[in-house]
């Protein structure tokens, strides 16, 4: 019977707590949850039917709910929705092959939560601000003395060049915001990941990994940032299980 895998965790300190927890929970489509272990690493799985995998988003939400519940009691490595293997034996072998990586990752995320910070701005407004600031700097190539007439192609290049320079200015601005954030987070001992210009309005999409206890400190940092950048909008979400911090190439 095919198994859906929800997450990887270590229950070596408290196997009874895990069993008690699993008994009180259900997987997707009301399935029972059980543990498949190799040595100190455990995969939380349930039986499932292929039909469930191709259902609507409510199954994915249920799946994430299982991960959340586990994450409240244990350090977990969340699996992506749709993680399926053919049998418990194969899962066992997979745990064995990747044992070291799982151990390392569990250690990395122990007692930590993930938080997301998305920063929005009106891109056009920002661009016009930046454009005004830099209009003086933009020089287009000089017309040659021989008087070669302006061609439509040269105009095209001029247009593209202006766009390019504006984009570079945007990126420089975004980099400076990221540098500021990194500075503020320095004392919180975080791992940070930034995505720039995820969309026209989402100029920074960041995720942070930090100690659970530092949630309030992170909220304060966000408030400070808002004061620094009144023109930007900040949205902080969390705490989440460490979805963005589990990079393992499964063998």
């Amino acid at each position: 019977m095919e198994k859906m895998i929800y997450s990887i965790l270590s229950a070596k300190r408290n196997p009874e707590k895990l069993n008690a927890l699993l008994v009180g929970m259900k997987g997707i489509s009301d399935s029972d949850l059980c543990a498949v272990s190799f040595d100190e690493i455990t995969a939380i799985v349930s039986d499932f039917k292929r039909a469930d995998l191709i259902a609507d988003r409510s199954n994915a939400i249920e799946y994430a709910g299982v991960i959340e519940n586990l994450a409240q009691q244990f350090t977990v490595l969340p699996m992506r929705y749709g993680s399926v293997m053919e049998s418990a034996e194969l899962i066992n072998k997979m745990l064995e092959r990747n044992y070291h990586e799982f151990q390392q990752n569990l250690q990395k995320v122990e007692n930590k939560y993930e938080f997301g910070l998305k920063i929005f701005c009106d891109s056009e407004k920002l661009k016009s601000e930046l454009r005004i600031k830099s209009e003086a700097d933009i020089q287009t190539p000089e017309k040659p003395a021989t008087g070669i007439k302006n061609s439509v192609y040269k105009d095209y290049v001029d247009k593209k060049l202006k766009e390019h320079r504006l984009e570079e200015l945007m990126l420089t601005y975004v980099d400076s915001v990221i540098a500021k954030i990194t500075g503020y987070l320095d004392r919180l001992n975080t791992i940070n990941k930034f995505k720039k210009m995820a969309s026209d309005t989402n100029i920074i999409d960041a995720v942070f990994l930090l100690d659970k206890e530092r949630k309030d400190a992170l909220i304060h940092v966000t408030e400070d940032l808002k004061n620094q950048y009144p023109v930007l909008n900040f949205v902080l979400t969390g705490p989440w299980p460490p979805y963005n911090f589990v990079e393992i190439a499964i063998k």
């Binding site: 799946y63 993680s83 963005n244 393992i248 499964i250």
Partner: protein
Amino acid sequence: MHDNVTDQSKDITMLELLDRVLTKGVILSGDIVISVADIDLVYVGVKLLLSSVETMEQLKAGKPIIL
């Protein structure tokens, strides 16, 4: 008014959650998620995608994709 705010907050939380559970987390292999014939989530191995000509023919003929 209060309810509307709460609902929207929940919606946003849901979207953030789905983004994580569908596109992040540990993956078992380098499969690509593709929606096939209106079915929301089907994992198609990268190898299958690259040798997709045959599959296209099957799709056109209305046959189900064999994973």
